[in-house]
C-alpha cells in the first residue's frame, strides 16, 4: 500500500516537471484535460492484487522503477531503423523513438485520397480536432488510461473517409531507446462508413534498458467499415508494457484484430470491444509466447449491445521456463443483443513444470436467444505425437519444436498480411528453438 502511494507521488512530481517543460505551449483545454487525468490517477492509485482485474498480475516490479519522461532525444539516437522494419512490407509508416515522432524516418508507400495519417502532436493544439478520440476509454476507471491522458504528448491519428479503401497498410513503429523512459503513446483511428484499412502497430526496444510503454488506442468503426489490426509487441525482457485498446463498432462493421506478445518482462493487454450496432463481426486473435521470468496478462471484454452480432475470440499461449500468464475473457451480452453468436477459446501449452497460466472465461448473458461457447485448455506437448515424429527419424528436440510451432501456427496462419506473417513465423520459430534448446 505504502509502495503504491509512494509511487503515485513520484508520478505527480514527474507530471509537474512535464507541465513545466511544456512551457505554456499546451492549449488551456488540453492542459486542463491533463490535470484532470492526473487528479483521477491520484484518486485511483495503482491497482493492487485486491482489484479483481489485477489479481494475478503484480505491479510490484513496475513500482520499483524510477520512470521519467524523455524530454529531448540525444542527437542521432537511431538514424537507421531498418533492423526493426518488417521485411518486404510495403507500408506507410510512422516511426517514433521514445514516443517522439521521427518525420525523417517515416513515410513510405503513398496513401490514396481520403486518408489522413499524421502524428498527434501536430493536431493537439487545434481544439476539437481530436476530441472524439478521447471519448472511448471510460474516464476515472483505469490508472493507466489516466496516466496516458495526463502525459499525452504524441501518438497517431488515422482518419479514413467514407467509402475509401486503403490497400496500403498503415504501420506505426514505436522504438524504445533511452533507459527508464516512460512513453505513453496514443492511437486514434477512425474508419468511416464503408471504408477499409489495415493497421499494424509494433513495439520494439533498441536496447536492453528498462522502459515503460503505456499505450492507449481507440478505434472507431463506422457502418460497414472494415479494419484489420495487428499488434506485435517484441520489446526487451526488462520492458514493462501496458496496452489499452478500446473499439467501438457500428452496424455491420468488421474488425479483425490480432495481438501478439513476444517480448516484455511484464505485459498487460486490455482490450474492450463494444459491438454497438447490429450485425457486427468482431474477431480477436491472440498469441503469447513467454519464457524466462516473463509475465503476460491478456484481459478482454467483448460487449454485445445489439442483435445479430458475432464475435470470435481465439487466444493461444506458449509458456516456457518460469514464465507466467493470465487470460481473462469477459463476454457481456446485453438484453437487447438477441441472436448473438459468441465464441471464445483460450489454449495454453506449458513447456516447463514451473510455468503457470491462470485462465478464466467470464460470460455474462442477459439475452435469452444467444449462442455462446467457450473453452480453455492447458496442456503439455502430446507425447504420442513426439514419439510418432521420432519414429520417422526426427530428433527429440526437433520434434518438440515442430509441435510447438504448429501450436503457435494456428494463430500466425490467420494473419492475412503476408510479410508480417512470414516475419512472425520466423521470429516465433527462432524463439521456440531457443526455448526448447534451453530446456534440453
Amino acid at each position: 500500500m505504502t509502495q503504491t502511494a509512494g509511487r503515485t507521488a513520484w508520478y505527480v512530481e514527474r507530471f509537474d516537471e512535464f507541465v513545466r517543460s511544456l512551457n505554456g505551449s499546451s492549449s488551456a483545454r488540453l492542459l486542463t484535460q491533463r490535470k484532470e487525468a492526473m487528479d483521477a490517477f491520484v484518486e485511483l492509485g495503482f491497482p493492487t492484487a485486491r482489484d479483481e482485474e489485477w489479481r494475478y498480475t503484480s505491479l510490484a516490479t513496475l513500482l520499483r522503477q524510477d520512470f521519467g519522461v524523455v524530454e529531448k532525444l540525444g542527437e542521432e539516437v537511431l538514424s537507421d531503423v531498418d533492423a526493426w522494419r518488417v521485411p518486404n512490407l510495403q507500408s506507410h509508416v510512422l516511426v517514433f523513438i521514445d514516443g517522439q515522432y521521427q518525420p525523417a524516418l517515416s513515410g513510405g508507400a503513398s496513401l490514396p485520397e481520403g486518408v489522413r495519417v499524421s502524428n498527434l502532436a501536430s493536431l493537439l493544439h487545434r481544439d476539437g480536432e481530436v476530441r472524439d478520440g478521447t471519448s472511448l476509454a471510460p474516464r476515472g476507471k483505469d490508472a493507466f488510461v489516466e496516466l496516458n491522458n495526463a502525459f499525452l504528448r504524441d501518438g497517431v491519428h488515422v482518419h479514413v473517409d467514407k467509402g475509401v479503401r486503403v490497400d496500403v497498410p498503415i504501420e506505426v513503429l514505436f522504438i524504445a531507446a533511452s533507459p527508464n523512459a516512460a512513453v505513453h503513446p496514443r492511437l486514434w483511428v477512425r474508419v468511416e462508413d464503408g471504408a477499409e484499412a489495415t493497421l499494424v502497430e509494433r513495439y520494439v526496444s533498441a536496447s536492453d534498458h528498462v522502459h515503460l510503454t503505456n499505450s492507449l488506442a481507440e478505434f472507431s468503426l463506422g457502418e460497414n467499415a472494415h479494419l484489420d489490426h495487428y499488434r506485435v509487441q517484441d520489446e526487451n525482457r526488462a520492458a514493462f508494457h501496458i496496452a489499452n485498446l478500446y473499439v467501438r463498432e457500428e452496424r455491420h462493421s468488421v474488425l479483425r484484430s490480432t495481438c501478439c506478445t513476444l517480448g516484455g518482462g511484464l505485459t498487460r493487454n486490455h482490450v474492450h470491444t463494444h459491438l454497438k450496432g447490429e450485425g457486427v463481426d468482431s474477431t480477436l486473435n491472440g498469441l503469447y509466447l513467454v519464457e524466462g521470468q516473463q509475465h503476460v496478462d491478456n484481459h478482454t471484454l467483448i460487449e454485445h449491445a445489439q442483435p445479430h452480432c458475432q464475435s470470435h475470440e481465439f487466444y493461444k499461449g506458449i509458456l516456457a521456463d518460469d514464465s507466467t500468464g493470465v487470460f481473462r475473457g469477459q463476454i457481456l451480452v446485453h438484453q437487447a443483443a438477441q441472436k448473438t453468436d459468441a465464441y471464445q477459446a483460450n489454449r495454453n501449452l506449458l513447456l516447463s513444470d514451473r510455468a503457470e497460466i491462470n485462465t478464466k472465461p467470464q460470460l455474462e448473458i442477459y439475452a435469452d436467444d444467444v449462442k455462446c461457447s467457450h473453452g480453455a485448455t492447458i496442456g503439455q506437448l502430446d507425447e504420442d505425437a513426439i514419439f510418432y515424429l521420432r519414429s520417422r527419424g526426427i530428433g527429440s528436440a526437433a520434434a518438440r519444436q515442430v509441435l510447438t510451432r504448429a501450436f503457435a501456427g494456428e494463430v500466425v496462419e490467420r494473419i492475412r498480411l503476408e510479410p508480417l506473417r512470414v516475419q512472425l513465423e520466423d521470429s516465433v520459430g527462432k524463439r521456440l528453438e531457443q526455448a526448447i534448446a534451453n530446456r534440453a
Binding site: 510418432y388 519414429s391 520417422r392 526426427i394 527429440s396
Partner: protein
C-alpha cells in the same frame, strides 16, 4: 538383419514379454499372430523404442547394432520403420512438411543430399500413386480428420518415402475394409525386395491372403509358442487361438 534373443519387457509392474526369440533375415516376411493381450503390439513398440516400456532382459540387434541402445529416431534412421496401429493426428503440421523432414533426416544419416520442397514434391507424387492417394492429402495436417483407411494408407506412404530396411506393421489391417486392405497390402508388397524385410503383426489371417509371409509365429502370454510356414495361419484360422492356448498350457505343465 534382426536378431531378438530372450527379449523381456514390462509396463510398470506387469511383465508383458517373457522371452521372445526371433531371427529375421533380409528378404523375409514374418507374421506375428496371437490373441488379444498376447504382447504383439508391445513387441512392435519395444522394437521402435517407445518410452514407457522397460526392457527387463534379453537383447535385440539390428544390422549388427544393439537396437535397444538406440533412441527411436536413431532406429528409424538406421532403417527400422513402425507402421502404427493408431497413427497419431498432429494438427497444424502439414503432411508434406512432415514427410520431407523425415526424408531429409534419412538423407543426412545416409550422407545423401537433402531435397528441397520442389524436388521432394515430385518424389512424393510418385509415391502417392502406390497407395492410391489424392494429392490433396499432402496439404492437410498429419492424419487430422483422416478416415481409418486413409490413416493406414498414409502409414504406407511414409514407408514408401522413408524406404526402411525393416518394416514392422502393427495391426495395419484392423478396421480396414477389403478395398483399403488391398491397397495397403499392394503397397507393402510393392516395397518389398530381397534387401528388405517385414514383420507383419496381425490378429487376423485375412491380411496374410494379401501379404504372404514366409514364416508365421504365434505369440501367447509374451512368448512365441509356435512357429511355422504360411499354412500355420490357415490352421489358426480354422482351429482358433484356443488351440494354441491349450497347447501352450500343456507345454508349461
Amino acid at each position: 538383419m534382426l536378431n531378438i534373443e530372450n527379449l523381456q519387457a514390462s509396463v510398470g509392474d506387469t511383465q508383458i514379454l517373457r522371452g521372445i526369440n526371433l531371427q529375421v533375415n533380409a528378404g523375409e516376411i514374418h507374421a506375428i499372430m496371437g490373441p488379444n493381450g498376447s504382447g504383439k503390439s508391445t513387441m512392435a513398440q519395444v522394437l521402435a523404442g517407445r518410452e514407457g516400456y522397460d526392457v527387463t532382459g534379453g537383447s535385440a540387434s539390428f544390422l549388427g547394432r544393439d537396437l535397444l541402445d538406440m533412441d527411436p529416431e536413431e532406429r528409424a534412421r538406421e532403417g527400422l520403420f513402425l507402421a502404427f496401429q493408431y497413427p497419431v493426428e498432429i494438427p497444424g503440421v502439414n503432411s508434406t512438411y512432415f514427410l520431407r523432414t523425415g526424408y531429409n533426416e534419412m538423407c543426412k544419416h545416409r550422407g545423401q543430399e537433402e531435397l528441397d520442397a520442389m524436388d521432394f514434391l515430385s518424389l512424393v507424387r510418385e509415391k502417392l500413386k502406390l497407395v492410391e492417394m489424392d494429392e490433396s492429402f499432402l496439404k492437410r495436417s498429419v492424419n487430422e480428420g483422416f478416415s481409418g483407411g486413409e490413416k493406414k494408407r498414409h502409414e504406407v506412404l511414409q514407408m514408401a518415402v522413408l524406404e526402411p530396411r525393416l518394416a514392422v506393421l502393427d495391426e495395419t489391417d484392423s478396421g480396414l475394409d477389403i478395398d483399403a486392405l488391398r491397397v495397403v497390402a499392394n503397397g507393402v508388397n510393392a516395397l518389398h525386395s530381397p534387401e528388405k524385410a517385414a514383420i507383419v503383426v496381425t490378429h487376423y489371417q485375412r491380411l496374410l491372403e494379401y501379404i504372404v509371409p514366409d514364416y508365421v509365429h504365434v505369440l501367447y502370454k509374451g512368448r512365441i509358442v509356435r512357429s511355422g510356414g504360411k499354412e500355420l495361419a490357415l490352421e489358426l484360422e480354422e482351429k482358433g487361438y484356443d488351440w494354441v492356448k491349450d497347447e501352450a498350457v500343456g507345454a508349461v505343465v
